[in-house]
């Protein structure tokens, strides 16, 4: 199935990894992914991994064990099929399909085929490839964020929404970077608990 998916993108994907060298940053990244470069895979994990995980977590309705398993399968499939690609939209679309397929295979191992088909029937894909599950996950996150303590919310917002690093947060709060890190960890744990509770209540 993945081969078919990869083949459908074939006209836009160069077969030789060297073809991407010296092209766009994405072309270079994908060429290096195909070459098995550790640095490229770290960059891919940093830049594309969170998006894939979000999609998988939403599709698995908050089952982060299943989402993590599917994430690993997605990476392995990307490793098997990746080719040089210069189009961001095309690469993202391909990743979404690969992730979806990897999750389905993980679900198939757990569920009966009939149950899987029923699930697919009730989850139409939205615009921009964002599924209803993803929209629901993001609104659950917003709802959980609204429920945590204001100082923790401010801390998470400055780290994730304003892009501040731990050192500048520590400076802002006049605490040590280690203390700031530990407060961030606590805030994330609390937010995760709330998010899981919201997702469970949505089900």
């Amino acid at each position: 199935m993945i081969r078919t998916v990869a083949a459908s993108f074939a006209p836009h994907l160069a077969s030789d990894p060297k073809d991407g060298a010296g092209q766009s940053p994405l072309g270079e990244l994908t060429a290096n992914l195909a070459a098995g470069s550790d640095a490229a895979w770290s960059q891919f994990h940093r830049d594309h991994g969170p998006g894939i995980f979000r999609q998988l977590l939403a599709a698995s309705r908050g089952d982060h064990h299943l989402a993590s398993e599917a994430l690993q399968q997605t990476y392995l499939r990307v490793a098997k099929n990746v080719k040089t690609c210069d189009s961001e939209a095309m690469f993202s679309g391909w990743l979404r399909i690969v992730a979806r397929s990897a999750l389905n295979d993980c679900l198939r191992r757990r569920w009966s085929w009939g149950k899987l088909l029923n699930r697919r029937a009730v989850e139409p894909e939205g615009p921009e490839g964002q599924t209803a599950d993803e929209v629901s996950l993001l609104s659950a996150l917003d709802s959980a964020l609204a429920q945590i303590a204001p100082e923790d919310r401010a801390l998470l917002k400055s780290k994730y929404f304003a892009g501040a690093d731990v050192n500048s947060i520590a400076e802002q709060l006049s605490i040590s970077p280690k203390a700031a890190e530990s407060r961030l960890t606590r805030a994330r744990s609390q937010l995760r608990r709330l998010l899981e509770a919201v997702l469970k209540s949505n089900d």
Binding site: L33, D38, S42, G49
Partner: protein, 143 residues
């Protein structure tokens, strides 16, 4: 133009994987990279083996062909059967047509067994061939 990612995406990743860039999730990326490298090594090894096998097979075929040519007459020419050889073979058939006188001379004073009858066809077998005879010793004569 790359679209700016939703900051909530990274927050979600960090919520479930404490250290996204260096924690357990990053192992997935490392093992994927390792898989790619192993696949490339396997592919190269397979190609090298296929090329070596092909070259060895081609060499073996060439050697066998050149052996056949050289073994025939030592000058590389393909051995041909000429008209003289065909004539020689035709001059030594597996039978001989003899005259009645020769037949009578061959059978003189020798016991003869006649098998069959007129309807089924007779077969004449010489029971005690002459020891000195070399050419038609033990010949069966059929009618």
């Amino acid at each position: 133009m790359t679209e700016k990612p939703d900051p909530r995406t990274r927050l979600i990743a960090d919520l479930f994987h404490e250290d996204w860039e260096k924690g357990m999730a990053s192992d997935f990326a490392r093992s994927a990279a390792l898989q790619v490298r192993r696949r490339r090594v396997r592919r190269r090894t397979f190609l090298a083996a296929a090329l070596t096998t092909g070259a060895a097979a081609a060499l073996a075929i060439l050697l066998v062909r050149s052996d056949v040519r050289m073994g025939a007459n030592g000058n590389g020419a393909v051995p041909m059967i000429g008209p003289a050889q065909v004539q020689t073979a035709a001059a030594h058939p597996g039978y001989e047509i003899i005259s009645d006188d020769e037949l009578i001379a061959d059978l003189r004073d020798r016991p003869l067994l006649i098998l069959g009858n007129k309807d089924t066809g007779r077969k004449f077998v010489v029971l005690q061939p002459r020891l000195a005879s070399t050419t038609r010793q033990g010949i069966e004569y059929s009618q």
